[in-house]
Subunit: 146 residues, 2 copies
Protein backbone atom coordinates (compact mmCIF):
# COMPACT_ATOMS: atom_id res chain seq x y z
CA UNK A 1 0.00 0.00 0.00
CA UNK A 2 2.28 2.72 1.22
CA UNK A 3 5.64 2.41 -0.48
CA UNK A 4 7.30 5.45 -2.12
CA UNK A 5 10.94 4.33 -2.22
CA UNK A 6 11.75 2.81 1.14
CA UNK A 7 15.43 3.28 0.58
CA UNK A 8 15.48 7.02 0.38
CA UNK A 9 13.32 7.53 3.44
CA UNK A 10 15.87 6.35 5.92
CA UNK A 11 18.52 8.06 3.82
CA UNK A 12 16.68 11.33 4.06
CA UNK A 13 16.38 11.02 7.78
CA UNK A 14 20.09 10.50 8.10
CA UNK A 15 20.89 13.27 5.65
CA UNK A 16 18.86 15.57 7.86
CA UNK A 17 20.82 14.63 10.91
CA UNK A 18 18.30 12.25 12.43
CA UNK A 19 18.83 8.68 13.47
CA UNK A 20 16.86 6.39 11.30
CA UNK A 21 14.47 4.33 13.40
CA UNK A 22 11.59 2.16 12.23
CA UNK A 23 9.14 4.52 13.90
CA UNK A 24 10.48 7.62 12.20
CA UNK A 25 10.63 5.89 8.85
CA UNK A 26 7.06 4.74 9.02
CA UNK A 27 5.71 8.03 10.32
CA UNK A 28 7.53 9.92 7.60
CA UNK A 29 6.49 7.45 4.90
CA UNK A 30 2.82 7.70 5.84
CA UNK A 31 3.06 11.45 5.97
CA UNK A 32 4.59 11.55 2.49
CA UNK A 33 1.81 9.35 1.20
CA UNK A 34 -0.94 11.59 2.56
CA UNK A 35 -2.11 14.71 0.88
CA UNK A 36 -4.46 15.54 3.73
CA UNK A 37 -2.30 17.27 6.32
CA UNK A 38 -3.01 14.67 8.96
CA UNK A 39 -2.95 15.34 12.67
CA UNK A 40 -0.71 13.42 15.05
CA UNK A 41 -3.68 11.37 16.09
CA UNK A 42 -4.66 10.51 12.54
CA UNK A 43 -1.11 9.46 11.78
CA UNK A 44 -1.01 7.42 14.96
CA UNK A 45 -4.05 5.44 13.84
CA UNK A 46 -2.64 4.77 10.39
CA UNK A 47 0.86 4.00 11.55
CA UNK A 48 -0.41 1.50 14.10
CA UNK A 49 -1.57 -0.73 11.25
CA UNK A 50 2.08 -1.22 10.41
CA UNK A 51 3.74 -0.83 13.79
CA UNK A 52 1.09 -1.97 16.23
CA UNK A 53 3.31 -1.29 19.22
CA UNK A 54 4.01 2.37 18.52
CA UNK A 55 2.83 4.85 21.10
CA UNK A 56 1.23 8.23 20.56
CA UNK A 57 4.12 9.86 22.41
CA UNK A 58 6.47 8.40 19.84
CA UNK A 59 4.40 9.77 16.99
CA UNK A 60 4.70 13.18 18.62
CA UNK A 61 8.42 12.67 19.14
CA UNK A 62 8.94 11.60 15.55
CA UNK A 63 6.99 14.55 14.24
CA UNK A 64 8.95 16.86 16.47
CA UNK A 65 12.19 15.46 15.11
CA UNK A 66 10.98 15.73 11.53
CA UNK A 67 9.82 19.28 12.03
CA UNK A 68 12.90 20.51 13.77
CA UNK A 69 15.17 18.87 11.22
CA UNK A 70 13.25 20.70 8.53
CA UNK A 71 11.83 17.66 6.73
CA UNK A 72 8.26 18.43 7.65
CA UNK A 73 6.26 21.53 8.37
CA UNK A 74 3.87 21.92 11.24
CA UNK A 75 0.63 23.65 10.30
CA UNK A 76 -1.52 25.30 12.93
CA UNK A 77 -5.00 26.35 11.94
CA UNK A 78 -7.17 28.22 14.34
CA UNK A 79 -7.21 26.27 17.56
CA UNK A 80 -7.33 22.83 16.06
CA UNK A 81 -4.75 20.11 16.53
CA UNK A 82 -1.48 20.61 14.67
CA UNK A 83 -1.29 19.17 11.21
CA UNK A 84 1.83 18.03 9.42
CA UNK A 85 2.89 18.63 5.88
CA UNK A 86 5.88 17.20 4.03
CA UNK A 87 5.66 19.83 1.29
CA UNK A 88 8.72 21.96 1.85
CA UNK A 89 7.96 24.60 -0.72
CA UNK A 90 6.90 27.86 0.85
CA UNK A 91 3.15 27.70 0.41
CA UNK A 92 -0.12 28.72 2.00
CA UNK A 93 -3.02 26.63 3.27
CA UNK A 94 -6.70 26.78 2.62
CA UNK A 95 -8.87 25.43 5.38
CA UNK A 96 -12.46 24.77 4.40
CA UNK A 97 -14.43 24.11 7.53
CA UNK A 98 -17.45 22.93 5.61
CA UNK A 99 -15.55 19.91 4.33
CA UNK A 100 -12.80 19.82 6.95
CA UNK A 101 -10.28 19.77 4.13
CA UNK A 102 -6.93 21.50 4.21
CA UNK A 103 -5.25 22.08 0.88
CA UNK A 104 -2.03 23.64 -0.28
CA UNK A 105 -2.07 26.97 -2.08
CA UNK A 106 0.96 27.81 -4.14
CA UNK A 107 2.69 31.09 -3.32
CA UNK A 108 4.53 32.76 -6.21
CA UNK A 109 8.00 33.89 -5.25
CA UNK A 110 7.21 37.47 -6.21
CA UNK A 111 4.37 37.54 -3.75
CA UNK A 112 6.54 36.10 -1.01
CA UNK A 113 9.00 38.92 -1.64
CA UNK A 114 6.24 41.48 -1.35
CA UNK A 115 5.14 39.97 1.92
CA UNK A 116 8.65 40.04 3.33
CA UNK A 117 8.97 43.64 2.23
CA UNK A 118 6.29 44.51 4.77
CA UNK A 119 8.74 43.81 7.57
CA UNK A 120 11.58 45.93 8.89
CA UNK A 121 14.84 44.73 7.37
CA UNK A 122 16.10 43.21 10.55
CA UNK A 123 13.16 40.82 10.49
CA UNK A 124 12.97 39.79 6.87
CA UNK A 125 13.94 36.25 7.80
CA UNK A 126 10.69 35.65 9.64
CA UNK A 127 8.75 32.51 8.84
CA UNK A 128 5.67 33.36 6.81
CA UNK A 129 2.44 31.66 7.76
CA UNK A 130 -0.43 32.32 5.44
CA UNK A 131 -3.78 30.61 5.86
CA UNK A 132 -7.06 31.10 4.13
CA UNK A 133 -9.98 30.15 6.26
CA UNK A 134 -13.51 29.36 5.10
CA UNK A 135 -15.65 29.25 8.24
CA UNK A 136 -18.64 26.96 8.25
CA UNK A 137 -21.01 29.91 8.36
CA UNK A 138 -19.85 32.89 6.34
CA UNK A 139 -17.65 35.29 8.33
CA UNK A 140 -19.04 38.20 10.35
CA UNK A 141 -19.13 41.43 8.44
CA UNK A 142 -16.62 44.03 9.56
CA UNK A 143 -19.02 46.35 11.33
CA UNK A 144 -18.99 50.15 11.39
CA UNK A 145 -15.45 51.24 12.30
CA UNK A 146 -14.13 53.46 15.12
Amino acid sequence: MVSIDQESISARLVRSGLRSTPQREVVYRFLLSERTHPTADELFTRVKTELPGISLATVYNCLEALVSSGLVKQVNLERGPSRYCPNLHEHAHLHDEATGQVSDVNLPAALIDQLRALLPESQRDAVIELNFHLPRHSPAQTAAGA
Copy 2:
Protein backbone atom coordinates in the same frame (compact mmCIF):
# COMPACT_ATOMS: atom_id res chain seq x y z
CA MET B 1 -6.57 54.90 33.98
CA VAL B 2 -8.52 53.08 31.32
CA SER B 3 -11.16 55.40 29.89
CA ILE B 4 -11.54 55.87 26.12
CA ASP B 5 -15.10 57.19 25.97
CA GLN B 6 -17.21 55.04 28.28
CA GLU B 7 -20.36 56.06 26.52
CA SER B 8 -19.56 54.63 23.16
CA ILE B 9 -18.40 51.30 24.48
CA SER B 10 -21.78 50.10 25.57
CA ALA B 11 -23.24 51.77 22.49
CA ARG B 12 -20.91 49.80 20.28
CA LEU B 13 -21.84 46.56 21.93
CA VAL B 14 -25.50 47.26 21.31
CA ARG B 15 -24.88 48.40 17.76
CA SER B 16 -23.18 45.08 17.17
CA GLY B 17 -26.17 43.19 18.42
CA LEU B 18 -24.81 42.36 21.86
CA ARG B 19 -26.43 42.98 25.17
CA SER B 20 -24.41 45.50 27.12
CA THR B 21 -23.27 44.05 30.41
CA PRO B 22 -20.70 45.44 32.83
CA GLN B 23 -18.46 42.47 32.13
CA ARG B 24 -18.50 42.93 28.37
CA GLU B 25 -17.97 46.65 28.69
CA VAL B 26 -14.94 46.26 30.90
CA VAL B 27 -13.41 43.45 28.90
CA TYR B 28 -13.84 45.42 25.70
CA ARG B 29 -12.55 48.62 27.26
CA PHE B 30 -9.40 46.96 28.55
CA LEU B 31 -8.87 45.30 25.22
CA LEU B 32 -9.17 48.65 23.43
CA SER B 33 -6.64 50.15 25.80
CA GLU B 34 -4.06 47.44 25.18
CA ARG B 35 -1.78 47.36 22.22
CA THR B 36 -0.32 44.03 23.25
CA HIS B 37 -2.78 41.46 21.93
CA PRO B 38 -3.50 40.08 25.38
CA THR B 39 -4.59 36.53 26.07
CA ALA B 40 -7.83 35.71 27.87
CA ASP B 41 -5.84 35.08 31.00
CA GLU B 42 -4.00 38.36 30.84
CA LEU B 43 -7.26 40.20 30.34
CA PHE B 44 -8.78 38.28 33.22
CA THR B 45 -6.06 39.48 35.55
CA ARG B 46 -6.39 43.10 34.46
CA VAL B 47 -10.18 43.11 34.44
CA LYS B 48 -10.34 41.67 37.93
CA THR B 49 -8.85 44.88 39.28
CA GLU B 50 -12.06 46.58 38.24
CA LEU B 51 -14.59 43.76 38.55
CA PRO B 52 -13.13 41.54 41.25
CA GLY B 53 -15.99 39.08 41.00
CA ILE B 54 -15.65 38.28 37.32
CA SER B 55 -14.84 34.71 36.39
CA LEU B 56 -12.46 33.44 33.76
CA ALA B 57 -15.34 31.67 32.04
CA THR B 58 -17.03 35.03 31.66
CA VAL B 59 -13.94 36.56 30.13
CA TYR B 60 -14.00 33.75 27.61
CA ASN B 61 -17.71 34.25 27.05
CA CYS B 62 -17.29 37.98 26.55
CA LEU B 63 -14.45 37.49 24.13
CA GLU B 64 -16.46 34.93 22.24
CA ALA B 65 -19.34 37.39 21.96
CA LEU B 66 -17.03 40.19 20.86
CA VAL B 67 -15.35 38.01 18.28
CA SER B 68 -18.50 36.57 16.80
CA SER B 69 -20.14 39.99 16.64
CA GLY B 70 -17.13 41.19 14.70
CA LEU B 71 -15.90 43.78 17.21
CA VAL B 72 -12.72 41.93 18.00
CA LYS B 73 -10.43 39.56 16.17
CA GLN B 74 -9.04 36.39 17.60
CA VAL B 75 -5.39 35.82 16.79
CA ASN B 76 -3.89 32.35 16.96
CA LEU B 77 -0.15 32.06 16.81
CA GLU B 78 1.49 28.67 16.71
CA ARG B 79 0.09 26.69 19.58
CA GLY B 80 -0.06 29.44 22.16
CA PRO B 81 -3.17 30.72 23.87
CA SER B 82 -5.46 32.82 21.69
CA ARG B 83 -4.83 36.54 21.67
CA TYR B 84 -7.40 39.22 21.04
CA CYS B 85 -7.14 42.31 18.92
CA PRO B 86 -9.63 45.16 18.56
CA ASN B 87 -7.99 46.39 15.37
CA LEU B 88 -10.57 45.63 12.70
CA HIS B 89 -8.49 46.59 9.72
CA GLU B 90 -7.32 43.60 7.77
CA HIS B 91 -3.75 43.29 8.93
CA ALA B 92 -1.00 40.79 9.65
CA HIS B 93 0.85 39.96 12.85
CA LEU B 94 4.49 39.71 13.66
CA HIS B 95 5.34 37.40 16.51
CA ASP B 96 8.83 37.80 17.89
CA GLU B 97 9.50 34.91 20.20
CA ALA B 98 12.67 36.46 21.54
CA THR B 99 10.69 39.28 23.13
CA GLY B 100 7.30 37.59 23.25
CA GLN B 101 5.85 40.63 21.51
CA VAL B 102 3.09 40.52 18.95
CA SER B 103 2.72 43.55 16.73
CA ASP B 104 0.44 44.57 13.92
CA VAL B 105 1.74 44.73 10.36
CA ASN B 106 -0.26 46.79 7.94
CA LEU B 107 -1.41 45.05 4.77
CA PRO B 108 -1.86 47.24 1.71
CA ALA B 109 -5.16 46.62 -0.06
CA ALA B 110 -3.37 45.78 -3.29
CA LEU B 111 -1.52 43.00 -1.58
CA ILE B 112 -4.68 41.65 -0.04
CA ASP B 113 -6.19 41.50 -3.51
CA GLN B 114 -3.18 39.59 -4.80
CA LEU B 115 -3.51 37.11 -1.97
CA ARG B 116 -7.20 36.59 -2.65
CA ALA B 117 -6.41 36.08 -6.30
CA LEU B 118 -4.54 32.91 -5.34
CA LEU B 119 -7.84 31.27 -4.50
CA PRO B 120 -10.44 29.79 -6.81
CA GLU B 121 -13.23 32.31 -7.35
CA SER B 122 -15.72 30.40 -5.27
CA GLN B 123 -13.48 30.89 -2.26
CA ARG B 124 -12.37 34.46 -2.56
CA ASP B 125 -14.30 35.36 0.56
CA ALA B 126 -12.00 33.31 2.78
CA VAL B 127 -10.62 34.99 5.87
CA ILE B 128 -6.94 35.77 5.40
CA GLU B 129 -4.60 34.98 8.26
CA LEU B 130 -1.06 36.16 7.78
CA ASN B 131 1.53 35.81 10.50
CA PHE B 132 5.23 36.44 10.50
CA HIS B 133 7.06 34.37 13.02
CA LEU B 134 10.52 34.99 14.43
CA PRO B 135 11.48 31.82 16.33
CA ARG B 136 13.75 32.19 19.30
CA HIS B 137 16.49 30.29 17.49
CA SER B 138 16.66 31.00 13.80
CA PRO B 139 14.50 28.67 11.72
CA ALA B 140 15.73 25.32 10.34
CA GLN B 141 17.15 25.53 6.85
CA THR B 142 14.99 24.01 4.17
CA ALA B 143 17.03 20.88 3.50
CA ALA B 144 17.61 19.17 0.14
CA GLY B 145 14.24 18.83 -1.53
CA ALA B 146 12.37 15.79 -2.91
